[in-house]
């Protein structure tokens, strides 16, 4: 059994060390690229959303490297993501690639027995004993938290750095460095080391950079390839960014808190005024975060979602009202496989220009 998984931001780093810890064979799909997208688009239904297409590309590139089992998380609606596994399995089968899909749905939908059976499919392949397995899982959780918080720090500090590009360089270096080892414990210490370095980075506190919150559909904001590396672009412009949704946020809120019905309480509470009911996907979170980032003194927010995303279309209709009521600029960007980089870049630059100009004139809040 050779396990693979689709990309989503930093998930591959944690997944790699989880497999290392469990002693299971795995393939990390090549980092998302034009090729993955092109292959994925070729074999996907035309009107499905962008994440589906990129994920298909990941699978096929992994199969080329010998993978035969896919791990995927599931959901049971109302957003399309829950049906991904069913379709992807069928399409790959048609292509003559008989993969085993192990889908982790919430136990409320498939029952605890079924979930346990699916977990056992992987767990029983591991030569390690029970205690080691649990430790491996805990290490992976630590790693995803460390890498996500490191990234968040780097992206926020990018606006304050004395030497331009230092944050970005450190972050990229860290990702490269951490993949060199196969030992979860070593990975944790590398990550901690980079945390120290970022903390000790020389910053200019007198700077008052433009601050932007990234909100919207979870996959397209987490996976940098799908949003054409918007956060890197903003880092280059010296803009501080914040993004609440991350793989570790997802694990904490969906896996740990959802059985207690406590998922994203603060965000959902803020959304109440505009969208009182959860509509699936992360539509309510998107609205809540727009309001939270306004309250936290951000200059603006950028919403990103894939073409045709159902929950985000609802939040997109609501965002202009928030923008009007609170005098808070929000830019909505729609991405799909046809998004052109030049037009995209221009829109982001124009938005940042607008935020800068607002500061210089009477509209400023800070």
């Amino acid at each position: 059994m050779k396990i693979t998984f689709p990309h989503m931001g930093n998930v591959y780093i944690a997944a790699k060390f989880l497999m290392d810890g469990l002693g299971i064979d795995y393939v990390i799909p090549p980092l998302n690229s034009k090729r993955a997208l092109e292959i994925g688009t070729l074999y996907s239904p035309e009107e499905i959303c962008l994440p589906f297409k990129i994920m298909m590309g990941n699978y096929i590139e992994s199969i080329e490297k010998g993978a035969d089992t896919v791990i995927l998380t599931g959901s049971c609606g109302p957003c399309r993501f829950g049906e991904y596994a069913e379709l992807q399995m069928k399409i790959l089968k048609k292509l003559g690639k008989n993969l085993d899909f192990i889908v982790f749905d919430l136990p409320s939908d498939i029952g605890f027995d079924e979930l346990k059976r699916r977990i056992d499919k992987i767990a029983l392949k591991s030569p390690k004993n029970k205690k080691e397995k649990v430790l491996a899982l805990l290490d992976a959780y630590k790693i995803i938290n460390l890498i996500d918080s490191l990234e968040a720090k780097a992206k926020y500090k990018a606006g304050y750095e004395k030497e331009k590009g230092e944050c970005k360089r450190l972050l990229n270096e860290c990702k490269k460095e951490v993949l060199k080892t196969n030992n979860p414990k070593e990975a944790i210490s590398i990550l901690k080391e980079y945390h120290r370095r970022i903390d000790n980075l020389k910053i200019d506190k007198s700077k008052n950079p433009i601050k932007v919150a990234i909100i919207g559909e979870i996959y397209t904001i987490i996976e940098p390839f799908s949003n054409l590396y918007i956060e890197d672009k903003l880092m280059d412009m010296g803009v501080s960014t914040k993004r609440t949704l991350s793989p570790s946020w997802w694990v904490y809120n969906t896996v740990l808190l959802s059985p207690l019905k406590l998922t994203a309480r603060k965000i959902r509470k803020s959304a109440k005024e505009y969208l009182p009911i959860g509509i699936g996907g992360h539509g309510q979170e998107c609205v809540g975060e727009a309001i939270l980032s306004y309250k936290e003194g951000f200059d603006g927010a950028i919403q990103i979602f894939p073409l045709g995303c159902m929950p985000e279309i609802v939040s997109k209709s609501i965002l202009p009202s928030i923008s009007k009521d609170k005098d808070f600029p929000i830019l909505s960007l729609v991405v799909d496989e046809m998004t052109g980089e030049a037009g995209y870049q221009t829109r982001i630059e124009a938005f940042i220009d607008l935020l800068e100009r607002r500061r210089r004139y009477v509209l400023s809040r800070s």
């Binding site: 399309r80 889908v103 009911i277």
Partner: protein, 301 residues
Amino acid sequence: MKVGIPKGLLYYKYKPFFNTFFEELGAEIIESPDTNKDILDLGSTLCTDEACLPIKVFHGHVEKIKDKCDLILIPRIMQIYKREFICPKFCGIPEMIENNIEDLPIITKAPIYLFSSDKFFKWAYETGKILTKNFFKIQKAFERAQNEQKKFKEGINDKGYALKVALIGHTYNIYDTFINMNVKNKLNKLGVGVITHEVVDDNVKYLEIKKLFKRPFWTFAREYYGFISYALKESLIDGIVYLSSFACGIDSVIVELIKLDFENVPFLLLKIDEHTGEAGFDTRIEAFVDMLSRRKRGNLA
């Protein structure tokens, strides 16, 4: 009090209920006109660009009647069956309307869960409160309305045609003859009968979807897939005509599921949006019917 009912989305499925309910509460009902060019244009201007045609059309209907009534019914239908959903946009439709259309009268915002009478009554009470203070009146109206709804027979099952196709699509696409350019008539004129999924019993559909890896969590997906699977097994149909609105998230999945699982069945996918031209539409239907009849002749020979 004047209650406005927009003729869009699931109006076609639940009109007996809503009409009876408000009538029993003593309201004067103002229905929007059947969908027309004006409504479509209004809807496309007001609504978010990325939304699908039915949502835009619904915006148009609301805009058309908003000045004539005191209360507009915006049904936030969350779930029709237990553990199943419909489209996320339905769950957020009151917010979409509220933020896209200005100067609205009161709109109904309470969520509707149709699978249990108790939960459904909560909606009825929340909404009825606006019209009357009498609890029993609301209860009576609710019961009458539910009885009316039960009497309502949906579905099309044409008899006496040489060819028969399954017409699949959301209720609001199939029964709104303006946005689908009366596709049923077009098919009938070419000598093709139509059968829709409501004709087949729900229990049958539940059995048919068992062969899927995952229980579909959309009511629409279960209904269409189950119906097609059953109709093909019983040889009720010669082909499938799928009427889908552009950028419909649910259709993008169901269409693919049907195509992948029932490979050798003639399948015509008709996409409708605000730019659909009738000529191209006709040509595609004619070509499809030609193909069906040639196939049938070939099989008989």
